[in-house]
C-alpha cells in the first residue's frame, strides 16, 4: 500500500519524501479536525456528570 503510493509519487526520492510528509500532515489534520471530534462522543471516556435519566435511581 505505502510502497504503491511511493512508486506513484512524482519526482526523485527527496520530492517524494516531501510529498509523503505533506500527505501525512494532511491525514493527521483530517483526523484531528473531523474524525476524532466525531468519534469521541461515541466512546465512553468523557462522561463526568451524575444524571439518573436512564437509570433506576433517577429522580
Amino acid at each position: 500500500m505505502y510502497g504503491w503510493i511511493w512508486r506513484h509519487l512524482p519526482g526523485n526520492a527527496w520530492v517524494r519524501a516531501f510529498i509523503s510528509f505533506v500527505l501525512i500532515l494532511a491525514a493527521v489534520y483530517v483526523l484531528f479536525q473531523y474524525v476524532f471530534p466525531w468519534a469521541e462522543p461515541l466512546l465512553p471516556f468523557g462522561d463526568v456528570t451524575v444524571d439518573g435519566q436512564n437509570g433506576s435511581n433517577g429522580s
Binding site: R7, P44, F45, V48, V50, D51
Partner: protein
C-alpha cells in the same frame, strides 16, 4: 532545491530497482503486506487518538476557557458595582490542592459546555444553588481528562482543604468535609440541596464537585463535598483570601 538538480541522477536507479523488487512477490504475499500495513496504520491512528484526547483537546479547551474567562473579567470591570450578570460565567473556582489555577464556572453540564474547559453547575437532574443563595448545594462537574481536565487532581482533595469561589464582589471560601471516591453515575442524590450521603442533615451552603473516575474512564463518579466557611468582600486590588496566597 538541491534535490531538483540531483533528480536525473537519482531517478534512473530508482525506477529500475523498484519493479524488480516488486515482481517476484506473489499475490498472497502482497495481500499480507497490505494487511500488515493496514494494521500498522490502525495502530498509529489509535496512538494519534490518545494524543488527541489527552493533549490536543486540552490545548483547545484551555484556549477557549481563557477567552471566555477574559470576557467575564472584562465584563466585571466595566459593569456597575453590585450588578450581577452571570450569562458569560458565574465566577472562578480556585482549588489550591488541585494546583490548576482558576477554573471558569458556567451554567449547565452538557458535554458541549464542559468541553470548553470550564466547570459547569448543574441545571438538571438537580438544579444547583448558587453561592450567594441563602442555602443549597452549589454542584459542579468538569472533565477529569482531556478538554482542559479541570478536575484531574480531584483525588488530591482531603478533608479541610479549601475550595474558593470568586465572583465579582465576593470570595466564597469552602472547606472540604467529605469525599466519595467511587459512586454510580445514577447516584443523583449527591447533588441534593442537603447531601445526606456526606453526613449532613441540616440545610446549609454546600459545594459539590463531581467528575469521572478512575482516570481515563467514565465508569464511576468521584464526589467531593465542601461547606461554606466564610465569605470575604473583594477589595479594589482583588487581593485573594489567605487560602490562595
Amino acid at each position: 532545491m538541491a534535490a531538483r538538480t540531483e533528480r536525473n541522477a537519482v531517478e534512473r536507479p530508482d525506477t529500475e530497482t523498484a519493479p524488480s523488487r516488486w515482481k517476484p512477490r506473489g499475490r498472497i504475499a502482497a495481500a499480507i503486506g497490505v494487511f500488515g500495513e493496514l494494521l500498522i496504520t490502525a495502530g498509529l491512528v489509535l496512538g494519534l487518538f490518545v494524543a488527541y484526547s489527552l493533549w490536543w483537546t486540552n490545548v483547545l479547551a484551555d484556549r477557549e476557557a481563557g477567552k471566555q474567562g477574559d470576557e467575564v473579567r472584562q465584563q466585571w470591570e466595566s459593569s456597575a458595582p453590585g450588578a450581577r450578570d452571570i450569562k458569560g460565567g458565574a465566577g472562578f473556582l480556585h482549588v489550591p490542592a488541585m494546583k490548576n489555577g482558576e477554573v471558569l464556572v458556567t451554567e449547565g453540564t452538557d458535554t458541549e459546555r464542559l468541553n470548553a474547559g470550564v466547570a459547569g453547575y448543574y441545571t438538571e437532574p438537580v438544579k444547583a444553588a448558587l453561592p450567594w443563595d441563602k442555602q443549597g448545594n452549589f454542584s459542579l462537574a468538569a472533565h477529569r481528562d482531556g478538554h482542559g481536565a479541570k478536575f484531574h487532581n480531584i483525588d488530591k482533595l482531603k478533608d479541610g482543604d479549601s475550595i474558593v469561589f470568586e465572583t465579582k464582589d465576593t470570595w466564597y471560601v469552602y472547606k472540604v468535609y467529605a469525599t466519595l471516591p467511587e459512586t454510580s453515575k445514577y447516584n443523583v442524590k449527591v447533588l441534593d440541596p442537603v447531601p445526606k450521603e456526606s453526613g449532613k442533615s441540616e440545610p446549609g451552603r454546600y459545594i459539590t464537585l463531581t467528575t469521572c473516575t478512575p482516570v481515563l474512564t467514565s465508569k464511576y463518579r468521584y464526589v467531593v463535598w465542601g461547606e461554606l466557611e466564610r465569605t470575604e468582600k473583594v477589595d479594589e486590588k482583588r487581593t485573594p483570601p489567605a487560602e490562595l496566597r
